[in-house]
Symmetry: D2
């Protein structure tokens, strides 16, 4: 009998997710997590926090909460936080002083539509009580673990890798839930920033490398966990510190924070792409302003790859801070040569008489009056497949630009991410298949330059650039050096970079 993990699992309730948003040819973070303890109607705070983290996942969101005397409640919904978790009828079904939440990105393509049962947080009932768990990242040995657990008699209800953690916890020999979670997470490989809860405890964990972010905040008598600091800002919480790589914090109303380190210590390798694109510019990562880092990448780019031109123009919105930096460093005027439609969204039906670059036009329009007759530097954050870059270049030339120079605020993206980011397969990555020069010709632009890996490291504050022996960040998407072995992918035939 032919079987596949996906098709074997019938949907508990098929709901078609919202149409995939405009393909913007970017890498995408897959999740954001948020948790609150010690505040009245914690779910209302979680809803706000998830809204601030919406850029980390737009497809679906979920909240689990606990009200003493009533037990756990939860809701999972497809769509934006603002469209679901703003309704009083829903929010009043989510009472209590302790709640966690999750937003997830719509992963595209072959996997088919997400089922509502795949939407986190996941819940499990153990003999000593219930627990809910939400995670940002990716378990790289999930398939192997799943196979093992099914052999032992576990029944899986979702196709999510996160469900493994609940089943491992159910089989742990330990006595209380945080200890069972420690036990379970020691079997898990990959990148994960977890927010979890029991009936009385809010729990945060980061994997030993600290690949994904997780921060701790305080609001009144309550404690807050959030993927990014912008989640603290929206509710007016004070930023206390990051959860450390490899740390587990177990927070109770009565005793506050109990910090544990259940894993073998390793040198941290935070994801450098969080600085480049994933995180919001108003967030603080590793003590550094994301906006300032991006602006600084622009400065590095202007130094590494100067060019004579009349206008520095960002590809909105993600290229904006680097463009400001580039303009400032180069002295070339900054201007909004490309205008973004703030109502962008779904795919429209293409008229019979085809419209050139319709996909991009739905999102962007060229400010002709500004562009006409000018030599334009376009600053973008990254090039993934190059499809959008080509179209933007065409629109800018059609509008009368004399020259088009691309400046990219990250090194060439030539390897897929297995740590919680949605990347195309390697043969779809432009930089995996072409040199910078070939890409310049392919995009038909006057010049194309990427910031160097060392330039990027300098922009994040490493004055000496990248430590090639012990890199300070996870930069696998640029370098092909994976700090955690992608077990499941290797089983499926993925070829690691040959040792040099």
């Amino acid at each position: 009998m032919q079987r596949s993990m996906d098709s074997e699992l019938p949907p508990l309730s098929i709901k078609f997710p919202p149409a995939h948003p405009f393909d913007d040819d970017k890498l995408h973070e897959e999740c954001g997590v948020f948790g609150v303890i010690g505040l009245t109607d914690a779910s209302n705070f979680v809803a706000l926090g998830l809204h601030a983290l919406q850029h980390r996942g737009q497809e679906a969101g979920g909240i689990v909460c606990h009200q003493p005397g009533q037990g756990f409640h939860s809701a999972r919904r497809f769509g934006y936080v603002r469209d679901n978790f703003t309704k009083e009828s829903l929010m009043k079904t989510l009472p209590g002083p302790l709640a966690i939440g999750h937003v997830r990105y719509s992963t595209s393509g072959s996997k088919g539509p997400t089922q509502i049962r795949d939407v986190q947080p996941f819940f499990g009932e153990f003999s000593m009580g219930g627990a809910a768990i939400a995670h940002n990242g990716n378990i790289t040995n999930a398939i192997a673990l799943r196979r093992e657990l099914i052999e032992r008699g576990s029944i899986f209800q979702s196709s999510s890798d996160s469900e493994c953690i609940i089943h491992l916890m159910a089989r742990s020999l330990q006595r209380d839930i945080p200890e069972r979670m420690e036990d379970a997470l020691r079997r898990v490989e990959g990148a994960f920033s977890i927010v979890a809860m029991t009936g009385t405890e809010l729990i945060g964990v980061r994997d030993p490398l600290g690949v994904r972010p997780l921060v701790l905040g305080r609001l009144g008598d309550g404690w807050v966990l959030s993927s990014e600091t912008c989640g603290l800002d929206i509710i007016g919480a004070e930023f206390i510190r990051e959860v450390a790589p490899g740390e587990m914090v177990v927070i109770t109303e009565a005793e506050g924070i109990d910090s544990r380190f259940p894993f073998r210590p390793r040198k941290p390798r935070f994801c450098i792409f969080e600085h480049v694109y994933f995180s919001r510019p108003d967030s603080i990562l590793g003590g550094r302003s994301v906006y300032e880092t991006r602006r600084q990448i622009g400065v590095e780019l202007a130094r590494e790859a100067p060019v004579e031109a009349d206008l520095v123009c960002p590809v909105p919105d993600s290229g904006t801070p680097a463009a400001i930096g580039y303009a400032h460093e180069s002295g070339i005027p900054y201007g909004m040569g490309i205008i973004r439609n703030q109502y962008m969204g779904r795919t429209f039906i293409e008229p019979t008489e085809q419209i050139r670059n319709m996909g991009v036009r739905l999102k962007l329009n060229v400010n002709r009056a500004l562009i006409r007759g000018k030599r334009v530097i376009l600053v973008d954050d990254s090039v993934v497949r190059g499809t959008t870059s080509r179209k933007i270049k065409e629109m800018v030339l059609d509008a009368g630009a004399k020259e088009v120079h691309f400046r990219i605020a990250s090194p060439p993206t030539s390897w897929p991410c297995f740590y919680g980011v949605d990347t195309p397969e390697r043969d779809k990555l432009l930089a995996a298949n072409m040199t910078e020069e070939e890409m310049t010709r392919y995009l038909e632009v006057d010049s194309l330059r990427f910031v160097s890996l060392n330039g990027l490291y300098r922009a994040v504050g490493e004055a000496q650039g990248r430590d090639t022996e012990h890199p300070q960040y996870c930069d696998a998407c640029f370098s092909g050096e994976y700090p955690v072995e992608p077990t499941d992918m290797i089983d499926k035939g993925f070829q690691l970079k040959a040792a040099e």
Copy 2:
């Protein structure tokens, strides 16, 4: 920490079920099951079969199917079969020659709204493949089993008793799925008629007492399992035989029926109330026409409890066959003194100026012209709490009836059912708390008579009446003699009838 099994389990996806239909003060069957193997697009047949079984459960329905090369697919929906499983967009997601389905009744009150995850069939993925299972009946030791399974590390995803079977199967030592099911069912107590499937097998099982019905049919090269024969009729399938009490049939396209008897043999005890009310009048149960049995109950009633009157009038629709029998036997004219609104349904908002018996008026209206000035015999199938009977009597008297005589086509219902029927608690059952005479006074009618237990047995063809040593049917709701010990209920404090 306070915990309850229900509140602990957060909803995977909260959907409010349709408002509970008009409280008709009846006992209600909780489920119907249907399965097909060997017919193209089996799900289309299952949809029709479930539609014919809709009277066994109106709240929700589900279908699981299997398409070779594609694996399993499923859909679960709240509401009527006709409103969900008639849509081409849905049905074409349910391909393949093998499918099972389930309809369930909306259990009322304290348990809260059903979650979509509680809707059967349930699915489990085992190391040797997947299986889906749907059942009609009730597992009387489900809570004890659930506690044991959680101790062993199983994660429950629903509050349904049926999920135990899947988890027991997951932990079985046996090699193939039917054997694992045998293994699991030997741990299960209670009443169950099961329809299940693997990727290649359609499976039907009845508990050793055969409390709930399950029949086998044939259509072309395919096989069909259905709770009742009316499910065969709608698709034009030929009735072959009943699945025997304690029998498991494992049906494959290639080899047809493999019949097994995994349980210790016991004397069958089919539910006698299926004859009285649950089953459709056009079904055949145990070789007997339900319509004819009900008509015969009316004949017995006319013999046991004659009265002088001008009109025999059924309480529609369930009292109709018995009323026809009563009229025929007594020679008193038969007439439709009460008209049923075929569009009955939800609860309307009661106007400020209250309407007497509004609940009943939404469903029934008295045919004044026929009733006025007459001595009326009202024939109903049963009296549960007596609330509706009182209101009907009032309406009939308001319409000008001279006398009202109730004749009830079943013995007094004085014990709850624990085998898959939704019954009020004992203190709500009128007959558990009053004698026939007290009930007559309580209902304020000119006379009230129930058919005797022996009369009922005669009507189902037991010429000698009930065998008190070895009763031929399960009649616990009348006699208080429970053929399977209701373990969980005894744990919760239910008092069995004292031995006499």
Copy 3:
């Protein structure tokens, strides 16, 4: 420019109506109306009244009400009354002591889906205030009136014939709204029973022939208008009298009923088919019980068309009273040989391996045990196209009946109705194209007999039968004698019966 009235009018809001219910090959009443004045939250009463009249129209319903100081409010919805006008959130938007409502039937076929803007009541704002109007019937000169009004500058917003009345009222020279309505209705031809309202008046009107029913009731200090008496029964209102043919009643809280007769008097011609099929059996029409009339038609049939047989079996549910009468008169036992699925509804997807008579099977099943080996008399209310009759006959024979005799409780339906009933075109009416003998052969039954037109008249109490000079009823569907000339239809080419 090619134009058609239907396509010219763009939908204000396209909403697809519920799928057309099972084609039962019946004529269908197109509307029911209801109105209340002088009761708190009159809309709640209207909702109940419309629910009781749901058999007169299932596609959509609407309510308009008036609250002093707030003005008019309204709601129109597709679907059953119980699914819409039971929601507190909706009903509390419909306040005040004065309300009218309407249910409409889904007319099938070429006209396309109904728009919500076509759902009555219609509303118009005049210089002296607003008025709403709902009607049951059909305006036979609507197209001509519409053409005239458009010439004068009226803008139509719906494709409904009723909107003409509002526009005629808007252009009337009269000073108050009831007078304007009189003025307008004198231009209108056809059959109409109208319920209308201003901010202070409830108005009821019947056309001069009184083709459609309309009754007046009293509840406490309030007054009620309803298409049938069953609408009074559900709210416990007392039946006062019928609104007379050609009468207009203008009811105010302060002064009660003001009765006017705005039309030239004519001899009434009430629709005889209301007795045969449209009205509910528990209603009283023209002082006669509909149930009793139908039962009496069965008696007439047994006298006119006796046959030796073993069982009298109704085609449920509409054939039931006549079958009871036939059985009683003939002495042949009455039995439920055909069982109706109470959950009937939509069209299911037909399986690849076709099921014989699937459409009928969804609605009806034969009670084989009762039918087998018997000579069966099937009593049905009418034969329209004959499609369902054929299928029922097949099912009954398949179940083993020895003989099948059809007895029809109305004369052959050979002419379309233009007075508010949905009838097929003439060439689709079986009786318009075949003699009784041809129909018997076409249906392949052992015998087929219709009650005679005189028999029908006797059953409605006309001991002398039909007065051929001055028929007591409108029986155009049987006789082809149209009491009001169908102007629009003649314009479209309809051929009246040649004078004899």
Copy 4:
């Protein structure tokens, strides 16, 4: 009887519009219009054009089209264009080479939720055929016209002022539809840019002052009308020219453009606020780039109101071009001190423990790392009620700014607009009630300066500034000089500015 125009009109179909978007304390354009003739499936182009014009109205949208041989079709929907007019199932009901569309803004407050029947385009059927009409602007004598038309017997179906035009056309003595429209528009006062259609003609009209924009474009063999040039850009149409103030263009496929001037000529007075805020920065108005004009306003502001500071920071997104201009002219660095949440939207439930400035936080977050310790110039486009400005100032100070200086890219807004813009009443406008100095104290900022009216005129290219005798633009919101008398408002008691 108490009556109000709004409450008198019962809803044809109540649908609750999407919750009002975040109150951003801005003036809002109320509509955008778009039309296409001569392109296959014109509705697909209209959908794209409306999407590009979505910033002019977010509440609802509608499209009417005409297919020869089939007549007119239409659809109206609440919500964004991208959520409705992207569905193939809907778009294929909108065939033909000629279509017009409309987006409308959700006007807030006392008027209650918009009804779908109020959504344009409006349609009317005349004796010579049908016509549809959509307009951007406001009819200032609509109430007077409506009263007159009702007296004459017109039945209004909406509460929209635009419906007057259809009724005036219905009563015109002229022979063809364009002539009837000319006739009707000569009775209409106010500001209007109209896109209309018959079965064969696309029609565009601007009022004699040309207050609202309307441009003409060409794509292949087709013609396009759009409120702004960005609507041409999205479909790749070439900008031909603006429709002139007072011009009516009647476009047919066969004969192209027929230009008429039906009104008495007047000196144009285009709305200057379209340059300041309403139009998209990539549009061209009156031959001028909106982006460049806004940038130039920033330059003027830097000259008129310099201040020593460390950072020029836009209030996103509308303040961005002016901030770029200010920074460039002043030499002070430009930076993104305030970050906008791109997923902003609905109102969240405010937690019990209140969050300071929650409304603004949902939309904006301060980039603390950039702001801290700096003297910040905040550049915003306008101040309406001042509520948001106060909150932004607080957030910026909380983040550690040393000084906060507001620079506003428009003069003080002290008069309401009656020409199609949603403005608060006069007593809610901050600048109507305070001097610049009082506003500075009220907002508690270190300084607050508006660009002068002359500075604004210079930025739009009037080197000599405003011509006080014959102002070149409509600037009533700043000057109180209304070029068209607001008849209805004066009837309601509005006080014009006293002559000086």
